[in-house]
């Protein structure tokens, strides 16, 4: 079918060479749909349009409307229907169009998706992946830039995963869809168009859920981060060299399960840590991470674990968002406050 080829070519990732995160995600969905007839993609505008971010581009043309389905515009209904589909043995992959549009589905998520395995003593696991574009930095107007991870990671029964690189976008999404547990798959939308040399991994080589990775080894302090803040942290680590600081950067990739071992090992090596994320500070992921690092590494710490995060305010309008989002300077300020000895 000509239209199919044309549609698929728009977003399809090349076999190797530079690809965007959007292309890698699209490829992961395609490969999952092709590998397992139980996989069904569903959401608002995911069909003919290919999703507002084009992550599902070409999938309906290639796999048909029954495998990649435009649903009515109702997030609780989408996720609730996915629960029933999973009960029947399917493996739904749900797209929530934007972070802040996912809230109507919250009751289904908390009351059913997260606890169905538990309440049925393991009889009804729900292999559902909920893809949510999240975070700011794209100039979105109100309700288009929330970092909602804290709501999800506070809900036992959910895995919460977020890629920060093109390769992880593919690998973690394949792993999420293959998981027998529900996975909240948070896609940093400002990294959708980030590019890297890449070729899709074999399913056996994809990143397992629950493993953090050291993106940059360092000797003097450790930045702990995930998703949209990884490039900012890498940039800060680069800039810190001028100050004589050798900063390490850990990319969590998965908030639940949380890879304490990798994080604690990195912090023990430096004795200083800063957690960096976009979402509000109070009661956020950083609070949990800082507490755990302190519990695990107290005798190795030279300074309190600090957090660099968004302010505790409703997400600001686009013309002001740069003041809210953690940037290189705010990260370096925090590093500067890590009780360095004078002279």
């Amino acid at each position: 079918m000509t239209t199919a080829t044309t549609a698929a070519d728009r977003t399809a990732a090349p076999a190797r060479g530079p690809a965007t995160m959007a292309q890698a995600l699209n490829r992961a969905l395609r490969d999952s749909l092709a590998a397992d007839p139980a996989v069904h993609v569903m959401g608002e505008d995911v069909g003919t349009l290919g999703g507002v971010f084009r992550i599902t581009d070409g999938l309906t043309a290639e796999f048909g409307e029954d495998r990649c389905t435009d649903t009515p515009l109702a997030e609780a209904g989408i996720l609730g229907a996915a629960v029933g589909m999973a009960m029947y043995g399917l493996r739904p992959v749900v797209e929530m169009q934007f972070d802040a549009f996912a809230y109507p589905a919250f009751e289904q998520l908390v009351s059913h998706v997260a606890r169905m395995r538990n309440r049925t003593r393991g009889a009804l696991p729900l292999p559902i992946t909920v893809r949510i574009p999240y975070g700011g930095g794209i100039g979105g107007v109100e309700h288009h830039s929330d970092s909602s991870e804290a709501y999800y990671l506070h809900t036992p029964g959910l895995h919460v995963v977020t890629p920060a690189t093109v390769e992880d976008a593919y690998g973690l999404l394949r792993a999420a869809i293959a998981s027998d547990d529900p996975v909240i798959f948070l896609e940093p939308k400002r990294l959708y168009w980030s590019k890297a040399d890449w070729s899709p991994q074999e399913p056996s080589d994809v990143a397992p859920i629950g493993r953090a990775v050291v993106r940059r080894p360092g000797r003097t302090a450790t930045l702990i981060t995930y998703g949209p803040s990884l490039p900012v942290c890498l940039e800060a680590a680069e800039a810190a060299q001028e100050e004589g600081w050798d900063l390490g950067v850990v990319d969590l990739r998965s908030l639940v399960p949380f890879d304490e071992e990798t994080v604690a090992a990195a912090v023990r090596g430096t004795g200083r840590a800063v957690v960096v994320h976009e979402s509000s500070s109070f009661g956020g992921a950083g609070a949990e991470i800082a507490a755990r690092v302190t519990e695990r590494c107290f005798h190795h710490l030279e300074a309190p674990v600090l957090r660099v995060a968004g302010f505790d305010i409703p997400y600001p309008p686009p013309m002001l968002e740069r003041h809210h989002l953690p940037g290189v300077d705010r990260i370096l300020d925090a590093v500067g406050r890590l009780q360095w000895e004078e002279g």
Binding site: G77, L79, G80, G84, H112, T120, R121, P257, D259
Partner: protein, 366 residues
């Protein structure tokens, strides 16, 4: 030519055939009842008598401290029994918390059905075994599940239908709306049975809706609405059987409103005298689902005193067995709290499990 004459807009369906009949459909006591299968009526009767006894026994178990709470379906047995018996083995039932009677009538062990209300776990039965979803406490949230399951069955080419139960209060929830809309758009093989028992705990229906009847809500979604006397077990059974058959054959969903009454309070913890008159309850007692069927069976010579006694004896045996087994303390394993959170426990859960294990060991030593 106005914009409304362009192909951009046209009505999708004729609303008239979707409208419910103005009077609730009845069979018992009408000439049409003569065509009903005596074997089916006998089965329905046995189950109704058993169901009434079950409600009484479960309520007694709350007073004995053996159940944390029990929302009785006394007065609504016809809906519960008809729902369970209208299903075929491969169909699925999606109950709400007041529907343990439908759950046991479907074949689930009564003790397992009461696990939620006893409180030793949440769901006591394997939903796949009898194709009964977990009892759902958050109102109407199980309805989209029924739609999704029915949709999946249709995609798989299986002649399977889902029957979702909800109350009149549940029709106000957003999930009711979303489920009916998805069902109609997808032509999912699902039937929604609203048991309109008059109250959402204490709030009467006229504070819940301004719709002519709840069955009328179907029209807005493009599915047929049926109104049925919810105390006429033969009528409910027939309406549900037809709707399920239509669903399995690809005809799409149906909304059925069964008009009934909650004779008991909301639960054993509720005081219904605060919000309704005894005269209203008495009026509904005169339209009792068990007596309606008894009158029909007796009139047609299908039931005598011996038959009635036999049904009561069978119900009594069920109650005695339930009583005996519910008086045993359920086995509790605190370590099971960690067993079903994920396929594999997270490192943090392993730590917490070790903590509880140590606490249990310390308890045993003290």
């Amino acid at each position: 030519m106005t914009v409304l004459d362009t192909p951009a807009w046209r009505p999708r369906a004729d609303a008239a055939p979707l409208l419910p009949d103005p009077e609730p459909y009845r069979l018992l006591g009408t000439p049409a009842a003569a065509d009903l299968d005596p074997a089916l009526l006998s089965r329905l009767y046995g189950q109704l008598v058993r169901g009434r006894r079950y409600n009484r026994q479960a309520t007694a178990l709350t007073r004995q401290g053996r159940l944390a709470v029990y929302p009785s379906s006394t007065g609504q047995e016809a809906c519960e029994i008809a729902a369970a018996l209208a299903l075929r083995p491969h169909d699925w039932l999606f109950p709400s918390y007041r529907d343990t009677l439908a759950v046991i009538a479907r074949g689930v062990d009564p003790v397992e059905a009461l696990t939620l209300l006893r409180g030793d776990w949440h769901t006591g039965y394997d939903p796949r075994e009898h194709r009964v979803a977990p009892l759902s406490t958050p109102l109407a949230t199980q309805l989209p599940h029924a739609v999704g399951l029915a949709h999946a069955a249709r995609l798989s080419g299986d002649p399977v239908a889902a029957l979702a139960l909800v109350g009149d209060g549940g029709t106000s929830e957003g999930d009711f709306h979303e489920a009916l809309n998805f069902a109609a758009v997808w032509r999912a093989p699902v039937v929604f049975l609203v048991q309109n028992n008059g109250f959402a705990i204490s709030v009467p229906l006229d504070k819940q809706t301004a719709a002519p009847t709840l069955a009328h809500k179907a029209v807005g979604y493009g599915m047929p609405g049926r109104l049925v006397d919810g105390n006429d077990v033969a009528a409910v059974h027939q309406v549900l059987t037809e709707a399920l058959e239509r669903a399995r054959e690809g005809g799409g969903p149906t909304l059925v409103e069964a008009v009934t009454y909650r004779i008991d309070a909301h639960t054993n913890a509720d005081d219904a005298t605060r919000y309704r008159e005894e005269s209203e309850v008495a009026a509904w007692r005169a339209h009792d689902p068990v007596e309606l069927l008894e009158r029909e069976l007796t009139g047609r010579g299908l039931l005598d005193d011996a038959g009635r006694q036999r049904a009561m004896d069978e119900a009594e045996a069920m109650a005695a067995d339930l009583r005996e087994r519910m008086h045993e303390d359920p086995p509790l394993d605190p370590m099971e709290l960690f067993a079903h959170v994920y396929a594999e426990p997270t490192p943090q859960l392993r730590e917490q499990a070790a903590q509880l294990r140590a606490e249990l060991a310390a308890e045993r030593q003290s």
